[in-house]
């Protein structure tokens, strides 16, 4: 099901993950989040940007512990935990945040 943003059409898979990572843009993330009833604020963007940087380097989303540690370092220890990430992304930081960031869905027993 493609998503229409700013007159452009973005192809996604059955679960709404962007088909071509290189086509990602900020407005697309905002539109995807809106579909899930989330208004992206600075806190969300911190996570989304980190995910994209990590993916660029390692070709995979970061492990939850890698993500919480990075968040903890940057935003303070009280935020370096899953609970904080779930508050931002109720469907799970691994899956929902990855979707907004244009990353493929993590697969496996996760």
């Amino acid at each position: 099901m493609p998503i229409e943003v700013n007159g452009k059409s973005f192809e996604t898979d059955e679960e709404g993950y962007l088909a071509d990572l290189s086509l990602w843009e900020k407005d697309l993330a905002t539109a995807m989040a809106k579909e899930d009833d989330i208004d992206l604020g600075d806190d969300h963007w911190e996570i989304i940007n980190f995910l994209r940087e990590y993916y660029e380097e390692y070709q995979i989303a970061p492990a939850v512990r890698v993500l919480t540690k990075a968040v903890g370092k940057k935003l303070g220890k009280d935020k370096g935990n899953s609970k904080y990430l779930y508050e931002l992304f109720p469907y799970g930081p691994g899956k929902q945040a990855c979707k907004f960031a244009g990353l493929p869905k993590p697969t496996g027993c996760v």
Binding site: E14, I60, P62, V64, S82, K83, V110
Partner: protein, 499 residues
């Protein structure tokens, strides 16, 4: 995420057998596998033109190859003992989710094409043609079975619905109708080495981060070695242990055990996955190919022992099939079982007084234990009868002061599936997963109310992920599901002098 609304089960004290609702979950079917995933596993990319002929040919092959399948097709007396034993039936009320109902989807086709009465008097014996509608029913309902084998415990004949589901999935794959979740994942293991598609640099970075975390946390230099040649132990663990919570706390627990016992160990980037989804799709060829990676890694690294981390179906494949799939393992140290479960390693070290615990470290928790289906009903531990039940419980009792089992009818060999096993841990089946979790959640709720249980420990990556979701859905907290080896790691007294 856009998940269609569905009726939420109410947790009751005792689960009544629900009244049947025909076709209640006939709308559920997982996403189909894409052409390239299918082809990478050696299957046609899409439904082939002569699919009926191919499917019946494959079914004939399987009936010859697996005598058990023919026995299961022939021997059901429709007694009804299995009907209320499946968590998916209890949660969905759909008669096709009664084990006998699920079996009959294949039995009808079997009778029509492989028995004389079915050929001549189809209506008398419930024989049916393999039509597109029947194929669609197969796709739907053979993906509503988590292959947990609880029904087989209660069947007086011992019919194993899991094997029928596996055969059905193999037949469907052979005509080009595969499941996206399983087949994409199997392709990733063939290509990269694990279910996640986690490449070596990312794995190394993740492990390095864990070393820093543990050092910071307890001041001990616990290593998480990767591809170390000449290590004694090769640890094969689900890649979820690297990636997800609460899995990673289990991995930290294993590392602390190895450290404290002075056992040299390593992970492998080539075989960075314990899971073997080849079993879920009934594919011997894929299961073997995945298992061979473990052999290759063991030979390449020159290890003496192979130990499996907390992964339910991986332990079934390892315990029951590894030697025939990827053996002989005559190059390993004969003093140890091949392979060994991490619980066996820890249990043995506890018995030998190598590990000491400060149980009070876990005093904030009141624990119950979820027996994972593949460990409970398809394996053993410690070479003693029921060891797969007693070893994990012994470890919990050695590391905590507060443990309560759930209702007898829901544990050990009668354990209820978490609701996400057998290749169903995918978001497109979330309705099935949440409904299928109901019997386990009811049993949990009772020990929470009766004994104040705060945490459930498990030894399976799928169970842990499924419960993370189901707990939130049923009003528990996300972090109430934990890895068994988290309890071990948290209570283990570490010898800091060895630094």
């Amino acid at each position: 995420m856009a998940v269609k609304e569905f009726e939420k089960p109410i947790l009751k004290e005792y689960s009544p057998i629900p009244k049947l609702v025909e076709q209640a979950t006939s709308h559920l079917a997982p996403f189909k596998s894409k052409e390239d995933f299918q082809k990478s596993l050696g299957y046609p990319g899409e439904l082939v033109d002569n699919w009926q002929e191919v499917a019946l040919g494959k079914m004939g092959d399987l009936l010859k190859k697996y005598r058990s399948l023919r026995v299961y097709m022939d021997s059901c007396i429709q007694c009804g003992a299995c009907t209320d034993k499946c968590h998916y039936y209890l949660g969905t009320k759909d008669p096709n989710n009664m084990p006998v109902g699920r079996q009959n989807l294949m039995r009808g086709v079997y009778r029509k094409h492989f028995t004389l009465p079915g050929k001549f008097f189809p209506k008398l014996v419930g024989a049916v043609d393999l039509t597109k509608e029947v194929l669609d029913d197969w796709y739907s309902y053979y993906h509503q079975c988590s292959q947990c084998r609880r029904c087989a415990v209660f069947c007086p004949i011992g019919i194993d619905t899991a094997e029928i589901s596996m055969a059905a999935r193999e037949i469907m794959d052979s005509v080009g109708v595969g499941q996206k979740y399983c087949n994409e994942i199997i392709g990733k293991v063939h290509k990269i080495g694990n279910n996640l598609g986690l490449p070596k640099p990312a794995l190394a970075d993740t492990l390095e981060g864990l070393e820093e975390d543990v050092e910071e946390d307890i001041g001990v230099d616990v290593k998480f070695p990767l591809d170390v040649k000449g290590a004694d132990v090769l640890l094969i663990t689900p890649s979820a242990d690297f990636f997800a919570e609460p899995h990673v706390d289990g991995l930290i627990g294993y590392a602390k055990v190895f450290h404290q016992a002075g056992i040299s160990w390593t992970l492998s980037s080539h075989a960075s996955e314990a899971a073997n989804f080849g079993m879920f799709i009934g594919s011997y060829d894929n299961m073997r190919k995945l298992a061979l990676r473990i052999r290759e890694a063991a030979l390449d690294l020159g290890v003496k022992r192979i130990v499996f981390g907390e992964c339910g179906h991986a332990w079934r494949v390892a315990y029951s099939f590894l030697n025939t799939l990827a053996g002989p393992f005559d190059f390993l140290d004969p003093r140890y079982p091949v392979p060994q479960h991490i619980c066996e390693v820890t249990h043995d070290l506890i018995n030998k007084n190598v590990l000491q615990f400060d149980k009070s470290a876990n005093d904030g928790k009141i624990i119950t234990f979820h027996d994972s289906c593949n460990v409970a009903r398809a394996s053993n531990m410690g070479d003693i009868i029921g060891g797969q039940f007693s070893l994990p419980r012994d470890i919990i009792k050695a590391t905590t002061n507060n443990f309560y089992d759930m209702d007898d009818e829901t544990i050990m060999e009668k354990t209820f599936c978490c609701g996400g096993g057998g290749g169903l841990l995918t978001d497109d089946l979330i309705e099935l997963r949440m409904k299928g979790a109901q019997p386990r959640m009811e049993a949990l709720k009772r020990v929470v109310e009766d004994h104040g249980v705060t945490h459930m420990a498990a030894i399976c990556a799928i169970c842990k992920s499924q419960f993370s979701k189901a707990f939130q859905y049923y009003g528990f907290e996300l972090d109430q599901i934990i890895s068994l080896h988290q309890l071990v790691g948290d209570a283990l007294i570490m010898n800091k002098k060895e630094l």
